[in-house]
């Protein structure tokens, strides 16, 4: 009885304490730790906020998600915003080792329901983004992807109706990305095939998913525009592990180049592996950023699975590799810091994730003090700041801004080729499609 009364008294004190603090929606249980210092401002205790991370982190997706998530963590550890104590709410949208849109939508809802989450970095895959954007849009939670490249997420495109994704709040854009889009990446793929690999004929395959099919379709039109011929076009379901009928087809078609639109978890590594088995590794193969997922030493990367077939392969990423001198931090500094913290090289999208986080931190610095400790107000203020196309950001990718649709102003695609001496992707060149349109 005595303890029950003491417990009740403590509960009352806790409730009063949380009521006294400014209209923060933190639950009563954490009232003790929460900002008991009422009217926010730098004078009071730091406000606890979170950045949500939504990537596929397990199984075959680890080479994609983990370096990207680490980029966010690294940015948060290096850049402080006074008055705010920023932690991470990490989610994984991989189910059984493969990215899953339904899981992504669930994770987004979890992040939306956490009132401290002001911003989400992710996801990695375009089809997962299509499931998440409506959730974030309804809640007004800003989301920045370092890697989504499907154009249909922000503009008119056969794959998705970008307006329907934002149906709840069409005037309040909440989706941004620091990667550019596949209409450029597909054209870049054709550029590599025709101009670098000097191919006149190409066989094109995709993994039926939104990203892969979209990329392959753009490749086809771009390659034909350059003057090449597409001799075969197949859509191969992601569950396929036996590509022998396609390898046999290739033997008959004997194209100068094979282009695959898709991600490694859809089986492209096995396809290349089986091509090599049949002696077809002499035919160059290209893909998009879905296959640029790490060196041959990285478990489940495309290069690792392709084995002997890794030779003669090309890939692209939807962002700059060779960065302008105004990149902050510089690529060498970023790589050094990443290596010091994680004991390995940064991934293809580490810098882009870092840039997303920098945009958020800049927004928070700007709007944070004015919002008081009101988390809901902060969330909307961050979103509005990012949605304003007049803002520019100094980032690890250089200077960029988000346009009205949420796309980055940087339209650069980087070209990579497999280097047998390092067993890794080697940067060839990059093309700025603003200065050098297709």
């Amino acid at each position: 009885m005595k303890y029950a009364r003491m417990g009740a008294a403590m509960a009352v004190v806790a409730v009063l304490a949380s009521a006294c603090s400014s209209t923060s929606s933190s639950p009563a249980a954490s009232a003790g730790a929460a900002s008991a210092g009422a009217s926010g401002g730098a004078g009071g205790a730091a406000i606890d906020v979170k950045v949500g991370i939504e990537f596929p982190m397990s199984g075959g997706e680890a080479p994609n998600g983990v370096p990207s998530a680490n980029g966010v963590a690294l940015a948060l550890s290096q850049i402080q915003v006074p008055g705010f104590n920023i932690t991470i709410n990490q989610q994984d949208d991989a189910v059984n080792g493969q990215h899953n849109p339904q899981q992504g939508a669930k994770n987004m809802q979890t992040l939306v329901n956490d009132p401290q989450v002001l911003f989400v970095v992710g996801p990695y895959n375009s089809n997962v983004a299509a499931a998440e954007i409506p959730v974030g849009n309804a809640a007004g939670l800003a989301q920045c992807s370092p890697a989504n490249t499907n154009p249909g997420l922000t503009k008119t495109w056969p794959s998705y109706d970008y307006k329907a994704l934002r149906a709840t709040n069409p005037d309040k854009n909440n989706y941004f990305r620091t990667a550019t889009t596949d209409d450029l990446q597909g054209a870049a793929g054709a550029d590599i095939a025709f101009n670098i690999a000097k191919a006149k004929t190409a066989y094109v395959a995709d993994d039926v998913e939104a990203y892969g099919k979209g990329l392959a379709d753009v490749f086809v039109t771009s390659f034909q525009k350059l003057g090449g011929t597409v001799v075969g076009r197949d859509s191969i379901p992601t569950s396929t592990t036996d590509f022998s009928s396609f390898v046999t087809k290739l033997k008959g078609l004997n194209p100068d180049y094979v282009f695959y639109g898709g991600v490694t978890t859809s089986g492209i590594g096995l396809f290349r592996n089986q091509m090599a088995q049949a002696g077809l590794q002499t035919i160059p193969m290209g893909g998009g950023d879905g296959i640029v997922d790490g060196a041959a030493s990285v478990q489940s990367s495309f290069l690792q699975i392709a084995g002997d077939g890794a030779v003669n392969t090309y890939g692209t990423t939807a962002g700059p590799h060779s960065l302008a001198s105004d990149a902050t931090p510089s690529p060498t500094d970023l790589a050094a810091a990443y290596k010091a913290k994680y004991n390995t090289e940064p991934g293809a999208y580490t810098a882009a994730s870092y840039a997303c986080t920098q945009a958020f931190l800049q927004a928070l610095k700007d709007v944070g003090p004015a919002a008081g400790g009101d988390l809901a107000k902060l969330r909307e203020a961050i979103r509005a700041y990012l949605a304003d196309p007049s803002h520019t950001y100094q980032s690890a990718l250089g200077t960029f801004s988000f346009d009205a649709a949420g796309d980055t102003s940087q339209k650069i695609i980087s070209y990579f080729q497999y280097d047998a001496s390092t067993k890794d992707w080697k940067f060839l060149s990059q093309r700025d499609f603003v200065k050098n349109p297709f």
Binding site: G60, S235, T241, D242, F246, T248, G269, Q274, Q277, G279
Partner: protein, 345 residues
């Protein structure tokens, strides 16, 4: 009270055999024509691809059909047993430190024999253990209980591999040199030839075992009527365990095939799900409970898939396979070689 008649029990007459062989030859010829129209010079290669794929599906389908024939359980864990067979092979390669093709023919034959014996015996034992632990108690339970248990076992096996071995693709070096053997005007990769011949050999062996030996007779009688067989002195538990052993051993053999043939050489913890689904479809297509039907169904599905790929319908291949199943079942509910369900006195 008779259960649904199963064709393990049906006796062959000589005219049946002749009709069967003729139909198969005609069907293969027709399939070759269809492939040739789409694939031109690659027709022979694609034909061999179809036979190889079909052989693998058939090997797995046999296990499904045998277990169903004897205890009327669809063993959903069977696909995972196939997947575990691939893991046994991978483990063997790793332990023996083999990293490339084996060029010495004697060593190659020796290793393959070892791989098959190891995989088949290990998976056979695993199959028997699963039956003993998970299914035996449920033999007389309502049909749903063992079905759900089988699904549970399949998840358990998947997870053991997911956590214990790898959560993504595991590739292995190919050990058989990819030389092509000329048979008359045709050149076939020796790996494909090996797989097809092996599969046919196994299927004929199984057919003879079930049809001609005492143990096979025990299996057939248990399939027809369990109580009567017991009254005749058949040890039901041993017979059923033997069925599981053979079925799982076949899945283990299919696992080795998967790791050895050109379109495989890789495994993943969820490989069993897809392969099991297609093989189960093959077993149903051919007539569940009928071993010849299972083999037939396996080859039919192999051909459907390759023909779909040849003609550019690869993204529809799954739809076509299951669509074929539905259409066949609509007109012949017991499958192609299944017996018509009728009233038996």
């Amino acid at each position: 009270m008779t259960t649904a008649p199963t064709s393990i029990a049906r006796t062959w007459r000589p005219s049946d055999r002749l009709n069967g062989v003729i139909s198969v030859v005609v069907a293969l010829f027709f399939a070759y024509i269809v492939i040739a129209i789409g694939a031109h010079e690659q027709a022979t290669d694609q034909f061999t691809n179809a036979l190889t794929k079909g052989a693998m599906y058939a090997l797995i389908a046999l296990g499904y059909t045998m277990v169903y024939g004897i205890i009327e359980l669809i063993n959903f864990a069977h696909g995972e047993i196939f997947m575990c067979g691939t893991i046994v092979y991978w483990w063997l390669l790793k332990t023996l430190n083999i990293t490339g093709t084996i060029t010495d023919p004697l060593a190659l034959v020796g290793f393959l024999a070892l791989a098959f014996v190891a995989s088949m015996s290990v998976m056979g034992v695993v199959g028997v253990v699963i039956e003993r632990l998970a299914y035996r108690r449920l033999r007389n339970a309502p049909r749903l209980a063992p079905l759900i248990t089988a699904i549970g076992v399949s998840f358990i096996l998947q997870n053991i591999v997911f956590v214990g071995i790898s959560n993504s693709v595991v590739t292995v070096p190919r050990i058989i040199p990819n030389t092509r053997i000329g048979i008359g005007p045709i050149a076939i990769s020796q790996i494909n030839l090996f797989v097809i011949v092996l599969a046919i050999f196994i299927m004929i062996g199984l057919h003879l075992f079930v049809g001609r030996t005492r143990l096979g007779r025990a299996m057939r009688s248990t399939a027809i009527d369990r109580e009567a067989a017991q009254l005749m002195g058949v040890d039901i538990n041993t017979t059923i365990a033997l069925t599981f052993f053979i079925g799982s051993a076949l899945a283990g053999a299919a696992g080795v095939v998967q790791m050895v043939y050109p379109g495989g050489a890789a495994t993943k913890f969820d490989l069993g799900f897809q392969a099991g689904l297609k093989s189960f479809t093959a077993a149903v297509l051919g007539g569940i409970g009928n071993t010849t039907g299972a083999a037939l169904g396996g080859f039919v599905i192999g051909f459907i898939e390759v023909i779909a790929d040849v003609y550019g319908f690869s993204n529809w291949s799954e739809a076509i396979v299951f669509g074929t199943l539905v259409i066949v079942l609509v007109f012949r509910p017991t499958g192609i070689l299944g017996q018509r369900l009728g009233d038996r006195a």
